[in-house]
């Protein structure tokens, strides 16, 4: 199909779709006048019920924790699919030019990666108290490893993220989340229902099982992203070893 014809077909259909969407948007509540009860009830009661101050965190890891289980496994399955698509059967070796020669760059990169790692762990740890959580912090932790690639090159990155280790952490994160759900069933509650001591609101030891689910998702997300980076960097920086 020619380019002109394609745009000529797109323009009226996009106009039609846009008109339909705008029409449906006109049926939504006025901006800033949200009337759903669910969110208001959670805002009013989550803090006293669960002793956590980040209501979004309590929605993700408690009130709608089952959704998050699905979300974790979407990420898990997608990264597995990506590894299937990109992983070669033969061994790969780093290209000779994939090295960082500057000591200053290496030192700076490793220092920044350490700082980023600490920031990521902080965002994870306080996920249910202040903005953050396992997903956001997990991505930051994985970025620290990406910075290590920039500082140390592909070889150093692979030494610091051994495949079996990353695979294990990813599996432990996804599986751990599911197992915590089973633990609450063993205690006689519904799957993924909150259990454990609620602690003091505003402290790290609070929220019952929320901190554990938070850490499980952080493990899963950080390992999934490191795996994802590894697969793409391998395409970029490694050559297959011809037998």
């Amino acid at each position: 199909m020619s380019r002109f014809l394609r745009i000529a077909l797109f323009a009226p259909s996009a106009a039609g779709l846009g008109a339909l969407l705008l029409w449906s948007a006109a049926g939504l509540p006025d901006f800033g006048h949200y009337h759903h009860a669910y969110g208001r009830i959670l805002n009013a009661s989550a803090q006293s019920e669960r002793h956590v101050t980040n209501v979004v965190g309590s929605v993700v890891f408690d009130y709608r924790g089952f959704d998050t289980l699905g979300e974790e496994f979407i990420l898990f399955a997608a990264v597995m699919g990506l590894a299937l698509l990109l992983r070669e059967i033969d061994d790969r070796r780093p290209q000779p030019r994939e090295q960082v020669d500057s000591d200053a760059l290496r030192l700076l990169g490793v220092g920044l990666a350490a700082a980023l790692l600490v920031l990521g762990l902080d965002v994870v740890a306080h996920g249910y108290l202040t903005p953050g959580g396992g997903f956001q912090g997990g991505v930051i932790v994985a970025s620290a490893f990406l910075l290590l690639y920039l500082a140390l090159g592909y070889r150093g990155f692979r030494v610091l993220t051994p495949r079996s280790g990353v695979d294990f952490v990813e599996g432990a994160g996804a599986g751990g989340y599911a197992v915590i759900g089973i633990a609450s069933m063993l205690l006689g509650a519904a799957y993924l229902h909150n259990f454990g001591p609620l602690g003091t609101s505003g402290k790290l030891a609070a929220g019952g099982s929320i901190p554990f689910l938070n850490v499980a998702s952080a493990l899963e997300v950080s390992a999934a992203f490191v795996l994802l980076y590894t697969e793409f960097l391998e395409e970029l920086a490694a050559v297959p070893v011809r037998a």
């Binding site: 949200y34 805002n43 209501v55 929605v59 990506l82």
Partner: protein, 114 residues
């Protein structure tokens, strides 16, 4: 003007769709798809917005402070995760397409057989 944020979401979605339709490279197409998907963040977050309200995080504010809806924010988090995984998978497919066909132009890929 109270529907403007919803109209913005529609506009972002159509922009992304335009990019997908006219794309000349699969990498560009994937980026346009994520632009289209980002319209759903705008839509979700603007539906949950409450006038003169803060974030639903009560760490430093007195109890009972007005806050926006936490449920749509959690949904947006799911949305972002799904978006990232889709982008990752599609980029992997792009690499495979480049390896197999030697091109990332969707028009040229369409004319390939077998």
């Amino acid at each position: 003007m109270s529907y403007l944020p919803y109209a913005l979401a529609v506009w972002i979605f159509l922009c992304g769709l335009f990019g997908v339709v006219t794309s000349r490279s699969l990498v560009h197409l994937v980026v346009c798809l994520s632009v289209a998907q980002s319209s759903t963040y705008v839509l979700l977050l603007s539906i949950g917005y409450v006038d003169r309200a803060g974030a639903p995080i009560f760490a430093d504010v007195p109890k009972g402070t007005r806050a926006v809806d936490p449920v749509v924010q959690a949904l947006t988090l799911t949305d972002v995760v799904v978006s990232v995984t889709v982008v990752g998978l599609l980029l992997a497919l792009t690499i495979q397409a480049k390896k197999e066909a030697g091109t990332t132009d969707p028009d040229k890929l369409a004319s390939m057989h077998g």
